[in-house]
């Protein structure tokens, strides 16, 4: 089975030194979404410090395969609501 490496960036970059063997690219894509979901759940507060979160997946040769990016941004000021919440 091919080996895939899952590097993450959520303010702190974490490189995957070992990788995980998975049947194919489609399986790696599903695992990456699960990993992203689990990490976001765990680091909900941290996310807003950087407002960016990504999982980048490479194969055993180091070739980039795909990336999942989650971005958070405040919506433009909408007067009334923005004043009330102080944002």
């Amino acid at each position: 089975m091919p080996r895939y490496f899952f590097d993450t960036q959520d303010g702190e970059a974490v490189a995957d030194a070992e990788g995980v063997e998975l049947p194919d690219l489609a399986a790696a894509q599903i695992e990456a979404v699960r990993l992203a979901g689990e990490l976001l759940r765990e680091h909900a507060e941290q996310f807003w410090l950087t407002r960016i979160f990504s999982v980048s997946v490479t194969d055993a040769q180091g070739a980039a395969q795909f990336v999942i990016t989650i971005a958070g941004a405040r919506t433009p000021s909408r007067g009334h609501v923005a004043t009330q919440t102080g944002r």
């Binding site: 993450t8 995980v20 695992e31 990456a32 689990e38």
Partner: protein
């Protein structure tokens, strides 16, 4: 080797020589199972309960889409389906994680113990209560702990349980799981499990080679896991 059930129970309260004999007689019929064999399947109506003499088993449920949740790891001295004496049919599956030697204990023998030996009955009841306490801790861990803390909690628990039956010491033990099995027990993706294993290693909390685990910094692992062993009831007292 001493009988692992007797060792496990005596950690919680002493047993008389007569009680030793009763347990040894009840658990004298031994069967072996290959790794990955189902020992009891969901839906089975058993007429005996299985005590592990050697090896590891899992309790698990498998969903319609094939995903599996492991709800317990069991080790020697654990009566994996003592409850099947009273709860029929089985509501989950018990699978050998490694080759296992199991004492197949007839329910007729358990019935006799429950009718004639009240202290021994309480001790068997205690063992199912400890299993339930472990399930509660797993529920908290799976619902609320971070992945790293959850894995740390599992390692602390297994070390203490294995130490009771003489299968761990000096912070070393064998943990015969793949990362896929671990992912099914922790309710996490395999990739995430791989990541937290690397994290615990990198932070110097554990060394983990193949199935051999060494806890390098017990205090730090306990702190990370918020591990409190009270639920394992490891102190001997009259019961």
């Amino acid at each position: 080797m001493r009988h692992p059930l007797i060792v496990k129970l005596e950690r919680r309260d002493g047993l008389s020589p007569h009680e030793h004999q009763i347990l040894e007689d009840a658990t004298s019929s031994v069967e072996t199972f290959a790794a990955n064999a189902d020992i009891v399947r969901e839906g089975d109506v058993a007429d005996h309960s299985c005590l592990i003499l050697e090896g590891w088993t899992t309790r698990s449920k498998t969903l319609a889409d094939g995903r599996r949740q492991i709800t317990a790891f069991h080790i020697p001295g654990d009566f994996v389906d003592l409850h099947s004496f009273l709860l029929k049919p089985m509501d989950h599956t018990i699978t050998a994680l490694t080759p296992c030697r199991m004492a197949m204990t007839p329910h007729t023998a358990l019935r006799r113990i429950s009718e004639e030996h009240p202290h021994l009955t309480r001790m068997l009841w205690l063992s199912t209560l400890i299993d339930a306490a472990i399930h509660r801790e797993w529920l908290v861990a799976i619902g609320r702990l971070s992945a790293a803390a959850h894995l740390a909690h599992l390692l602390c628990e297994l070390y203490l349980r294995l130490e009771v039956v003489g299968l761990a010491k000096d912070h070393r033990f064998e943990f015969p799981v793949t990362q896929t099995v671990l992912a099914d027990a922790l309710g996490l993706s395999t990739v995430h499990v791989n990541r937290v294993v690397q994290e615990l290693r990198r932070d110097g909390l554990v060394a983990w080679r193949g199935t051999h685990v060494t806890i390098k910094d017990w205090e730090a692992l306990v702190r990370l896991a918020e591990f409190d062993p009270t639920y394992l009831n490891l102190a001997p007292r009259p019961r």
